[in-house]
Amino acid sequence: MCEVKVITGTSAAAEAAKLADVDVIAAYPITPQTTCVEKLADFVANGELNAEYIKVESEHSAMSASIGASAAGARAFTATSSQGLALMHEVLFSAAGMRVPVVMMNANRALSAPINIWNDQQDSLSQRDTGWIQLYAEDNQEVLDLVIQAFKIAEDEKVLLPVMVNLDGFILTHTVEPVTVPKQENVLDFIGTYEPKHAYLDPKKPMTQGALGDPNYYMETRYAIETAMRNAEKVIADVHDAFAEKFNRAYGNGLIESYNLEKAENVIIAMGSICGTIKDIIDLKKKEGVEIGLLKIRCYRPLPVEMIKDALKNAKNVAILDKSISLGMNKGAIYADVASHLKDKKTVNYIVGLGGRDITPEDILGIYDDVEISEDGKTNWIGLKEE
């Protein structure tokens, strides 16, 4: 039997890490991630979780210690946000290149300057090329489910890549709502024990990890990560399906989720918590006899391009929502990645919610109206106060 708890998104992530019986946690506090690592500290302090908790002196060291722990053969978990993730940037590449299946929760938050603790997705999207699998949650239940799935995906021999589970800062991290927490025995039965065959540090079988790769070898190592990313598409879907069967909760096909896309010509592509508000609007309009749709991206890296194209085959006008901005290009990351694959459709980019600017149901209604009349390829900043 499961237990339903009314908890925050950060607590849901902490519960999931506990259920996965992680061996090592190395973490540094940052708003709005803190309640996750506080909760984990409580679990360890109360003997509910048998793990080494390393209270590192920075996020750079949090990731470095996580890599060290995972390379030694332990199941490692950490959590961060925004500036902390940016500080990790260098070693995020190392984690992927060294093929250590670290799982990290990231509380999506804007980047300085000006300093801003509120939600957008600039932090994780700025890490898109580091070789991390990136998953995004719509609600706190999905946070818990994704963190559990993340371990199974990361540790799959066909993948062996680190996974970042993203949740919108405050909107999920600090919001309580009912979350079904499965039994640990069922979770461990689902993900298994981490027994790495490729990387561990044991004097009985010494290996060298983190070697120098000269021009003879480097390109192949990058290609191997790309291959693992492509493998991950199937693994993520399979893990999702197996999870759905065991725990009775499904999210589209695991990589994307289609919501009323069959008859809709005007559709939104979005990622994260805003998808909930959009679904409400879609149901509202359906009652009025208007068909609009949503394509939710759950997995941003690897980006399931073919799935996205297929899901949008009936769409005409595609509004792509970005909580990030590539400055100097006036496009968000999702638009930049996706639009070129939708050449037969009108695509319009909407920059929304930067630095915690609230996105209201009216904003979403306005976007559905606008995408029909707006010109192709345009970028609109929603809610911008222009002087």
């Binding site: 009314v6 405050f170 919001t175 309580v176 009912p178």
Partner: protein
């Protein structure tokens, strides 16, 4: 869907109150959501927190602009904050005060939550008391579920005391 807005000061437990209410609704078999106004306020500064209660799963992620109910933990907040902002027609404003406060055009209910808290808890922390008053006034959550939620939120000695304070307020406001 019913939406509640709490006005308090940092450290008075407004966020906890919003969560207690959400959990109580959950125990009543409803769906719920509670979140703070995402600010950087410190102890003493005006803060807000929100609760949503619905019969269906709550997917809406925007902030609350048009609440059904407003709970004011400290009347001095009204000098600097417009507690009536966006309140829905027929909405209720519950204020912790000794005075008889009237706000033109609004349904205002008052309760001396500080008095109850001092009497039952021995400290002027009014969040659980106000939750009890809210339950009595609106019937949006049952007192049984509210007490369960409070007991779960405050393990140890504080739990029963806070549940008593809530029940006392509930009995005073029921049917008002």
């Amino acid at each position: 869907m019913k939406e509640v807005r709490f006005h308090g000061r940092g450290g008075q437990g407004a966020v906890t109150a919003a969560q207690i209410l959400a959990k109580a609704a959950f125990y009543d078999g409803k769906f719920c959501q509670a979140f703070p106004f995402f600010g950087v306020e410190r102890r003493g500064a005006p803060v807000m927190a929100f609760t949503r209660i619905d019969d269906e799963k709550i997917r809406l992620r925007s902030q609350i602009y048009e609440p059904n109910y407003v709970i004011v933990q400290d009347p001095t907040l009204m000098d600097s904050v417009d507690v009536t902002s966006g309140i829905k027609d027929g909405g209720i404003i519950l204020i912790n005060t000794l005075k008889d406060i009237k706000l033109n055009g609004y349904d205002v209910k008052t309760i001396d939550a500080t008095g109850i808290a001092l009497e039952v808890l021995g400290v002027p922390i009014v969040n659980t008391t106000l939750c009890g008053a809210f339950a009595g006034l609106t019937g949006e959550v049952t007192i049984e579920s509210l007490k369960k939620s409070i007991l779960e939120t405050f393990p140890g000695k504080l739990g029963p005391k806070n549940a008593d304070a809530a029940e006392k307020a509930y009995n005073l406001t029921k049917g008002l």
